[in-house]
Subunit: 191 residues, 2 copies
DNA sequence: CGATAACTGAAACACGCGTTCCAGTTAGAG
DNA sequence: CTCTAACTGGAACGCGTGTTTCAGTTATCG
């Protein structure tokens, strides 16, 4: 009996598990190709059964691959929060988040309809970091306070997601979005 | 031989065609239920074959249903463009567009991976109207001109789409989005 | 009324995809 | 080297969904 979703006992199986993970990660960054188990297996040079068995299912494999990509982004958010001013941290982080999602927007296509617990946890952490940036910037007086904080968070999350999804993903568009968003978030000048 | 995708010859068939169209339209406004041919047929009280035959395929049926819903929105954009100031037209229209997409966000879920020529045409018209609003507002001095017009259009389209998709779809969120977007689009005050 | 062509819809089919089976292969301990 | 349990992967399966078939029904013309 193998351990479903856990680490295999034999060295070759562990190597294959790694190959499957790398193949899935590579395909996440290469949109246009269907993200099927068959495609992942072919890219890894393995049979589809082997790929699935190593993780206990397609969902678990993608959860591992996506959360592995997302992890450094979450860490980066925490770092920025400590080192920069809230407003600067927010802008820098959103720019990086857009770049990340653009480079892997196959991820966004998978988030709906799949069960990805580790990814969901990281996303929650990410939202929390953004919340902290917003709260600090509000206290700072650098962004407007006439909107509910929760609304601001949702606004930023959704807009970021949308811009990253748009085709073609250009740096110009990302910059324009950030400019408009940050200007729109500034406290309104009375009159 | 029936006419695939065209109008049936017999009165009962025309009535069934109408029933299928109404069922599909109703399901587009009621998310959470899978938009399958079977579901549409059941709602219409018909067999699945009848539903498909009346339009020549699921895509054609949805294309007819969606473009039927989109048509008045497109007309509304043209009306606003003539009657209101560019800035006001833009804000009003975007608000209505968000409301429309929120009420039918099953539509957005179908736009990818389906062949919907009539819908695509209407979408293009819609984008063109937004382009005109933007151009007029730029000429007017009411929105910033330091961004490429095409970038502004994409920005607005994508952001609108995202907000409409967000759950839960609240009026507060839509209003906040419009406020931030329109403020961010205003010409930046020097200094 | 017939007569007939249009129409219906349950069932069969086609197809893609995730999962599981199982006969064969292989790593790795003794 | 030998032996066994772990592992492999092509094939079979299950499931969901769009499409097609075809025997039966019905609108509609004359």
């Amino acid at each position: 009996m193998s351990t479903p979703g856990g680490n295999p006992r034999r060295a070759d199986a562990m190597r294959n598990r790694q190959l499957a993970l790398e193949a899935a990660t590579a395909l996440l960054a290469q949109p246009g190709t269907a993200l099927t188990v068959e495609a992942i297996a072919k890219r890894a040079g393995l049979g589809s059964a082997t790929v699935v068995r190593a993780f206990g299912g397609k969902d678990a494999l993608l959860d591992t691959a996506i959360s592995g990509l997302l992890e450094p982004v979450v860490q980066r958010a925490k770092t920025l929060l400590e080192k920069d001013s809230p407003e600067q941290a927010l802008r820098t982080f959103l720019g990086e988040l857009i770049a990340f999602q653009s480079a892997h927007h196959a991820i966004s296509d998978q988030l709906g309809g799949l069960d990805l617990p580790a990814t969901a946890t990281l996303e929650a952490e990410l939202v929390r970091s953004v919340d902290e940036m917003i709260a600090a910037a509000r206290a700072n007086g650098t962004i407007r306070t006439d909107l509910a904080p929760a609304v601001t968070t949702t606004l930023i999350s959704q807009a970021t997601y949308a811009i990253a999804r748009s085709q073609p993903a250009s740096q110009e568009l990302a910059d324009a979005f950030l400019t408009v968003l940050m200007d729109g978030l500034r406290p309104p000048t009375p009159g």
